[in-house]
Subunit: 233 residues, 2 copies
Amino acid sequence: MATTGHEHTVKAFDEDIKHLRALISQMGGLAEEAIRDAMIALQRGDTKLAKEVRRKDKAIDAIEAEVEKLAVRVIALRAPMADDLREVVAALKIAAVIERIGDYAKNIAKRTPLIHASDGERIEAISLLPAMAQMAGDMVHDVLDAFSARDAEAAIRVSERDARLDDFYDSIFRTLVTYMVENPRTISEVAHLLFVAKNIERIGDHATNVAEMVYFAATGQYLADRDTDTAEN
Amino acid sequence: MATTGHEHTVKAFDEDIKHLRALISQMGGLAEEAIRDAMIALQRGDTKLAKEVRRKDKAIDAIEAEVEKLAVRVIALRAPMADDLREVVAALKIAAVIERIGDYAKNIAKRTPLIHASDGERIEAISLLPAMAQMAGDMVHDVLDAFSARDAEAAIRVSERDARLDDFYDSIFRTLVTYMVENPRTISEVAHLLFVAKNIERIGDHATNVAEMVYFAATGQYLADRDTDTAEN
């Protein structure tokens, strides 16, 4: 054997980290796909696709469980210090956030039959949402790229886009309320669209949370003094 | 020294677990209080109390960070096995869920000024929500008691109450929509109440998630084959 025990441990740790990162990339890809498919299902009233989104969410949940198991094992077996520990804990937390993003997408998909139930009439207000969802999905995509590249600056740029998404949400909220006032027959359906808009806005919040975790993992510093409220707004 | 090295380790681990449990009890107490105060603020239009709820949420977040730090340290230093590891991981996850419950309460509090903004007119529909919030708050209280007592049966009983809370939500959703149709001038305010109702329903979902974690920590089995959707509905 040319490697010492220490080198062996370091190598094994690097392999574990690589595996954790691969799992998170995979989760992220599935979450992005879920957002996209959920919005398509919603717009087209495609309940079959909506069901597919719900079914695939189980895959995201399963990968999260795998990340958790692996991260806990790495901490217990290798007792990593400082930077390494920060990286493993970040992986654990980021996986939990992506799982939630998947849940939001699933929830959007679930509303498909509720929005198209009444009489096949198309609710115009729905046309506002895809652009918002695209913006949120892009944030998810870019923050996972930042994670892969351990790029703290890219993470900051993602977090800065959340304010625009919030503005978009506020504007859609007002538009939907106006639509309800003018079309009282559609209030129930449009109320579901309000929740969809809120879910999209929450996806942006979670992408921002991930950005903060990426920043912390990369630098050991908190992306501080910014008003990035993590509340369920 | 009368204790062996092994006994010392076991004792230290027990102390750590006790500390983790105490932190979680404390978080739980704060979360219950936050739910209660948020509802009082909302009903009375008490924006000062609403701000207080938001301020106190930082204490919940801080305890969660402490739980995370301690749990990771315990896993790394003591490399617990089987039951013990399950217990530490459960503590880590339960703390994260309570933190989210606190966020929901904070979010309810945040809507206080939005609901009372228009013209001081009282929205009758608001009177439906406190009973629902009480039901959700009781679930949070009882599931944390189950955690303290490591009582798997009590955890099951909490999880079984979630269906009733969901029915309550559905009924409130319909009532609020009807109210909007009949009082179009209040649509914007009542839309915020819809989100409040949804937040309360989500608190129940999270209490149910905790019940599942308590059950798993106590028994090593999953509270399986029950349709406990963890999605953001």
